[in-house]
């Protein structure tokens, strides 16, 4: 058998590689396999890049390169004066994909919208558990279940969301991946054929690309959607070549085996920039890395002590040694690219002498503390261990003795939320939807300060939380900006965290790739991209 195939290989060698696709194909070396093709149950950007972004649309979309909300499948919307009713006018004539496995008979309408949300929110919905063990983590964590009172079909192209309370970030939530609109007609067909699980295998959406095929852990193929309601993609075929290793991604990019790759290793960036055939785009990431004290435990319940410790950290050294040129100093809990970022806030200057004096003043002597360093690399923090070592050294200069501890990642996430946690924890956050509340509300509000909440400082400041609540109740962005700016001043004054840094995101790509726009939300989209030989 082997002998025979060797013979055939030789004859194949003689043939020339001809007739290969004339159409424009863009190959994206993605960093991992999607968990599934239904975006709703998942939370990872890798899955969204392969599902919601190419295949689906949402009622509203984020404008390319910004976090602004623009019309998507909804052409327009109105918000009632009390902020409780959102009425959406749907775009007429939007077609779901016609593929080998499905041919739609009608255009997208209100039923699809209601289906897309109700299956996630209603535990008794026949599609809620369409595969065993599915759960809708984003729908849950964005509190959509308690927020949405009902969704009303006014007519085929008008949908009304009734909320239980005014919530300004609601619009941003609707632009998120879990809010992708799936076809009810397709779901009905699958149900009739008894293969509901294919909703998660063979997606049908309204997006710029049609799903063609997925070879597990290897390749995903998409074709341009000729019937797209927006501008048809300039490329004809989109291929995701799944390449988990950043070093291999770089090799493939250099070898011309792919056109675009995400998440290069920091060490590779210089070499990529030097390559004449490669462009490296960069942008500040929508993230923050922090060191959160436990504000419920003495002496860290004293803002003065926290402030003094913050002043003792040489943050620039961390940016230099840990981020290695791919990060910037953080002074606020939100990144500078986000609206309402308060640039007037002055960061605590690095001043060990003053810090020591402040500690003395607060009556703290011979302080010993733990610093938690997470065991994994995250987008906002390349090396927590090294950061902890630098902090250890800084604190030793003001007479504070630091012990560095770490746990397995899952344990770390859990233990760090425990109320009686001993020590300050290094962690961070990557934004979901570009709304400031998605940082400050999730990470610093009183509501999140309990066990299991994301407020790892367990810091509950009434004044700060009141400002956030107020900001959520109005949809006037100018007014919200003012409130968030005030909140940032309180945050800096009370110092529940040492804000460590914001990382920079790099996107190396072949110079043939034109029109790629980096998303501040960290998603990767190819609908406006072209390839020029």
């Amino acid at each position: 058998m082997t002998f025979k195939s060797t013979l055939l290989a030789t004859s194949a060698l003689v043939m020339m590689l001809a007739g290969a696709a004339q159409a424009k194909t863009l190959v994206y070396c993605s960093e991992g396999s999607p968990e599934g093709f239904d975006p709703a149950p998942y939370t990872s950007g890798t899955t969204f890049d392969a599902t919601s972004r190419p295949v689906f649309n949402r009622l509203v979309e984020f404008e390319k390169g910004t976090t602004n909300i623009i019309p998507g499948l909804a052409e327009s919307w109105e918000v009632s004066a009390d902020g409780l009713e959102y009425t959406f006018k749907l775009r007429p004539g939007v077609k779901f994909h016609t593929t080998e496995f499905f041919a739609p008979t009608r255009d997208m309408n209100a039923d699809d919208v209601i289906f897309s949300f109700m299956r996630q929110g209603d535990a008794n919905h026949p599609w809620n558990q369409y595969v065993a063990g599915v759960s809708y983590e984003y729908y849950n964590s964005m509190e959509m279940s308690t927020l949405i009172k009902e969704i009303v079909k006014v007519d085929d192209l008008t949908v009304k969301f009734v909320l239980t309370r005014p919530e300004a970030p609601f619009m941003a939530n609707l632009g998120m991946d879990f809010a992708s609109i799936v076809s009810k007609e397709y779901a009905d067909k699958l149900e009739a054929e008894g293969r509901k699980e294919d909703l998660n295998n063979l997606p049908v959406g309204t997006g710029p690309f049609k799903f063609v095929a997925y070879q597990k852990d290897a390749v995903i193929r998409y074709a341009a959607n000729d019937d797209y309601w927006g501008e048809r993609p300039k490329i004809d075929t989109l291929v995701f070549a799944i390449t988990t290793d950043p070093a291999v991604r770089v090799q493939k990019l250099k070898a011309g085996e792919c056109h675009v790759m995400p998440y290069p290793a920091p060490a590779d960036i210089e070499g990529l920039k030097a390559d004449a055939n490669i462009t490296v785009m960069e942008q500040a990431g929508l993230n923050v890395a922090y060191l959160a004290y436990n504000a419920t435990m003495a002496p860290f319940d004293n803002p003065k002590v926290r402030k003094a410790l913050n002043m003792a950290i040489n943050k620039q050294a961390i940016i230099d040694a840990v981020y290695q040129g791919s990060g910037q100093l953080a002074k606020n809990p939100i990144p500078p690219t986000m609206w309402s970022y308060n640039d007037a806030v002055v960061d605590d200057a690095y001043d060990p002498a003053a810090a020591k004096a402040m500690l003395d003043e607060a009556g703290v002597k011979d302080l010993s503390m733990k610093v938690w360093a997470m065991p994994v690399q995250r987008p906002y923090m390349p090396n927590a261990r090294r950061t902890a070592e630098l902090i250890q050294e800084d604190f030793s200069k003001i007479g504070v003795n630091v012990e560095i501890v770490s746990y397995e990642w899952g344990e770390y996430l859990k233990k760090s939320t425990e109320m009686n946690r001993d020590g300050a924890v290094i962690l961070g956050w990557t934004g979901d939807n570009g709304d400031p509340d998605n940082f400050m509300g999730v990470l610093l509000s009183c509501a999140a300060a309990g066990e299991g909440g994301a407020n790892r400082a367990h810091w509950c400041n009434e004044e700060f939380s009141a400002l956030l609540t107020q900001a959520k109740a109005t949809s006037d962005q100018a007014e919200r900006t003012k409130l968030y700016e005030q909140a940032q001043v309180i945050f800096k004054d009370q110092a529940p965290w040492a804000t460590l840094g914001h990382s920079t995101v790099f996107m190396p790509m072949s110079t043939k790739v034109q029109g790629y726009v980096m998303s501040p939300l960290g998603s990767h989209q190819f609908d406006n991209v072209d390839i020029v030989e």
């Binding site: 194949a12 964590s141 095929a213 597990k216 390449t243 090799q251 066990e451 299991g452």
Partner: protein
Amino acid sequence: MIKFLLGKLAWLIPTFLGITIVAFGFVRVLPGDPVLLMAGERGITPERYEQLMAQFGFDRPIWQQYLEFIGRLFQGDFGNSLVTKKPVLTEFLTLFPATVELGLCAIVIATLIGIPVGVLAAIKRGSWFDQATMTTALVGYSMPIFWWGLLLIILFSGILQWTPVSGRISLLYYFPNATGFMLFDSLMSGEKGAFRSAVSHLILPSVVLATIPLAVIARQTRSAMLEVLGEDYVRTARAKGLSRARVVGIHALRNAMIPVITTIGLQVGVLLAGAILTETIFSWPGIGKWMVDSISRRDYPVVQGGLLLIAGIVMIVNLLVDLMYGFINPRIRHS
């Protein structure tokens, strides 16, 4: 023969039960859990945590979960992946052909080169050929294959640009995967150059994976041949005036093959362990990489199902080797 077979099978049952306990038990003592990893930095309220654990069935007593696990096993149900929500067996079967293709290629390379080299080395014992090949074999046997793979990538993909960096076939080609074996599918697709592309993708990983088995087989063949050549009946045959080629080809080789076949069979475990490294280096979408990823994601059903399936395969192959050995060498059967 049947008694021999039944006896062997009876031995397998307690071992297999032991394997299920190990696969199930190990996974449960892994620190951290999938729900926590899923929640990430956002954290998860204790209530929601309990709710999800209950939904996955992780809240019940361990022994009860184990019994259910065994019960479902008998129906061929290995559970669903927590991440992809797909049946573990389906995922395994999707990825397994890639590993098998790689492993088969490696074992074919190892056998086709290893046996002739071993035989020649034995015949020309002490010659420069013997010394050179056996030294090379020992180097191969001592090779850290993950490093070897990287070196080959530097040379063939980086400097010479002869072979692609990773993957199974050029992305230009697209055809349905009928069998999951890329060599076969690319031939069947009828697309020009597809097969060639598949071969060029396969060559480096299979050479890397073949390295250690090749060394082992060459060494084993040589020593088995030496032993047989020293036996009385071979000497007798030689004395009777049979030609050297005939003696070596018919009498010696056939008898020397018995331990060599066993050796080849035993390489399956080595191949599967090697596949973990090789697949990682070459981004080869097989079960080795799948297991490594699933361990780090704490995807319990995949880790326990995968461990079980892999151990099961190793066991079955070992059994087949045993049977074949018994078949070739009847003395074993009766002892």
